[in-house]
């Protein structure tokens, strides 16, 4: 058993021009896709079209895009309740994602799951999850599977700062360490679990430091900087497939919106949020691309309108899709209907 030692790594700044231009423009577009999707999802919620509560990932785009772009399509991903960005970044068709929020038969989970229960067998998305902590154990099993089958595949679990205090975090990271699993644990630390500040709930300065309990590198990345996330995820993927060793990544980000739609947010001030939004990950990347001369206003406008078209198409698709058929309510409980 190889026992890579724990070390703590802090955020790194990468020159945007040290990457391939198309790649980085792709990052930008993916992030804008998520942002626009989320805005329209909010609008659809306020219009009363969404079934159930949703948790917007505005502010988390760079984490999803940075990690997913470092993965291959065949890699597995699990996520928590806040997961639209993960589903989209892993490659699901936006139309089916929006349709799921509206509880439609064409939804990615056929309307059975809604926002918190989206999965896509096509993209390796083993599901986002309504239970905090569940994503962590499930990805651990997928990593076990990849190794067992000798596949060049990794499994990535996303979870929040709140999730890092669940027993499942501890049991899974220990398991991955002792079994040398190709797993990547990505904590999206947005500083809050509903109203509860991470500084209150979590007895450690950086969640990444918890890697030390499992002989696992603890990598802190700037979760508002897609390039930092991307490079760290690439390295983690490499460690997973080459050394078959897991990594804990803590992406420091911030939740720009309420916990869910309707949140009164009386646990933080408007000013705090305004201040933090100055580090908007999309704005920041756009600015760096412009400075590098890699993005003209026209290109930006084209990108925006392409995304707008895609999102609008998705919204229309979702609105016009049929509801699930009541007759299917007892399907898929078991392989064959039993009750």
């Amino acid at each position: 058993m190889s026992k890579a030692n724990y070390y703590l790594q802090t955020p790194r700044k990468h020159e945007v021009t040290s990457f391939d231009r198309e790649l980085v423009l792709g990052f930008l577009k993916e992030m804008v896709r998520i942002r626009e999707f989320e805005s329209r999802a909010e609008e659809q919620t306020l219009a009363g079209n969404v079934v159930g509560g949703i948790h917007l990932a505005i502010g988390h785009e760079a984490v999803a895009v940075g990690v997913m772009q470092a993965l291959r399509r065949e890699d597995y991903v699990t996520g928590p309740h806040r997961g639209h960005h993960l589903v989209l970044a892993k490659g699901s068709d936006m139309k089916n994602v929006m349709a799921e929020l509206l509880g439609k038969a064409t939804g990615i989970s056929g309307g059975r799951g809604g926002s918190m229960h989206m999965a896509d067998a096509e993209t390796g998305l083993l599901g986002v999850n309504g239970i905090v902590g569940a994503s962590i154990v499930i990805a651990t099993g997928a990593a076990f599977s990849a190794k067992y089958l000798g596949q060049d595949r990794v499994a990535v679990a996303f979870f929040g700062d709140g999730g890092s205090n669940k027993g499942q975090f501890h049991e899974s990271l220990n398991m991955a360490s002792i079994l040398d699993l190709p797993a990547i644990y990505v904590c999206e630390n947005n500083e809050f679990a509903v109203e509860t500040a991470v500084s209150y709930s979590t007895g450690v300065d950086n969640i990444a430091e918890r890697g030390s309990s499992y002989r696992m590198p603890g990598i802190i990345v700037d979760g508002l900087d897609v390039l930092d996330v991307y490079v760290a995820a690439k390295e983690a993927r490499q460690r997973a497939v080459q050394d078959s060793r897991p990594t804990l990544i803590e992406a420091k980000t911030y939740r720009f919106k309420g916990h869910s739609i309707g949140d009164k947010e009386d646990y933080r001030t408007k000013e705090e949020v305004q201040e933090r939004m100055k580090s908007d990950p999309i704005f920041k990347l756009k600015h760096r691309l412009e400075e590098a001369g890699w993005l003209s206003e026209q290109q930006w406008n084209e990108l925006k309108s392409e995304v707008d078209r895609e999102v609008e198409t998705a919204v229309q698709f979702a609105l016009n899709s049929p509801l699930p058929s009541a007759a299917t309510a007892l399907h898929h409980v078991y392989a064959k209907e039993m009750f």
Partner: protein, 329 residues
């Protein structure tokens, strides 16, 4: 009598009991400012401060385990688990520890605590935020299990729980939270183990608890129009279970429908049907019919959810079937 919501009545009981007894504290996620996910304990944090209203990390096992350790050593925890589904992360603590601590240590320790969680389905609450687990808890010796349906009982039963010596599982159905009902002024308690006849009738007994009580009352009103007089019994507590009141009612009506939102298969309805079958076998003019959810996880889609979870219509149909003596449900 003044009319307040079930949720307000619950919160009133917490307020009054915390005023009375300094050993009561509340532990929950997002409880101090927000008052819990549904604001069910709004203002408690402001009133009693962070010593007695403690925000928890998302660590259900430790929340429940801490409550046990505190209850064994002189405190009276109210552990707010948010959604009933989240018990699943603390089942060892509830079943292997809390339920058994008095018994296995031969009565040396007691465990007076209350665990509250929001149970049942509301619109689009989906597979992991809609469960009703009372049949599980009933199958575990050592736990008291309450599932009131009215504001009055919510307040009175919480007070009974907070003055008792046993661990109490408090099932707080999401759809009851905003329902209003008369609540007496002043201090009162509601006893455990006494079912309540909430509507008298002569033709059929409907035994229900939690959300299915108001739904059964709706059904009874509709049946009234068809000329069927249903007696509705609110069981109120699952453990202890007052089967006698149901049996007495059935002796009169000769017919029984049992209604709960939890899954029909393996649900409390089975236990009640089995006990009534033993107790008043000779009085029954028709098979006992049970109403409960169909056997699937609760889907988010309201169209599908409606197929799975029971409502007024299912109770009406069940009553009609026992009146005909033909099981149709």
């Amino acid at each position: 009598m003044r009319e307040i919501t079930f949720a307000s009545a619950f919160a009133e009981a917490v307020h009054e009991e915390m005023d009375r007894d300094p050993t009561i504290f509340v532990l929950g996620t997002d409880i101090r400012i927000r008052g819990g996910h549904f604001g069910q304990l709004k203002d408690i944090g402001q009133t009693f401060g962070p010593k007695r209203v403690v925000d928890s990390p998302i660590s259900e096992a430790a929340m429940v385990g801490l409550s046990l350790g505190a209850a064994m050593t002189g405190l009276r925890p109210i552990c707010d688990l948010n959604f009933e589904d989240f018990y699943l992360g603390a089942m060892d603590e509830v079943v292997n520890q809390i339920a058994k601590v008095r018994y296995k240590f031969n009565g040396q320790f007691k465990c007076p605590l209350v665990i509250r969680a929001s149970s049942g389905a509301a619109r689009a609450t989906g597979p992991q935020h809609s469960q009703m687990l009372e049949a599980w808890f009933a199958h575990v010796p050592g736990l008291i299990v309450v599932a009131p349906s009215t504001a009055e009982d919510a307040k009175g039963m919480l007070k009974t729980a907070l003055r008792g010596e046993d661990p109490v599982i408090f099932s707080f159905h999401k759809m009851l939270g905003n329902m209003k009902g008369p609540v007496p002024d002043g201090d009162y308690t509601t006893p455990f183990g006494q079912a309540n006849i909430v509507k008298p009738g002569t033709d059929v007994t409907i035994a229900a608890y939690s959300i299915m009580v108001p739904k059964s009352l709706q059904a009874a009103r509709e049946l009234e129009k068809e000329g069927i007089s249903a007696e509705v019994v609110d069981l109120r507590t699952i453990v202890p279970l007052d089967v006698n009141t149901v049996a007495e009612s059935v002796k009169k009506t000769k017919r029984l429908v049992i209604a709960h939102e939890a899954y029909k298969f393996g649900g409390m309805g089975a236990e009640i049907a089995a006990q009534i079958g033993e107790a008043v076998f000779d009085y029954l003019d028709a098979p006992i019919v049970r109403v409960g959810s169909k056997h699937a996880a609760i889907p988010v889609s309201p169209v599908l959810q409606e197929q799975i979870t029971p409502g007024k219509a299912e109770v009406v149909a069940a009553v009609q079937s026992v009146m005909e003596g033909v099981v149709r449900v």
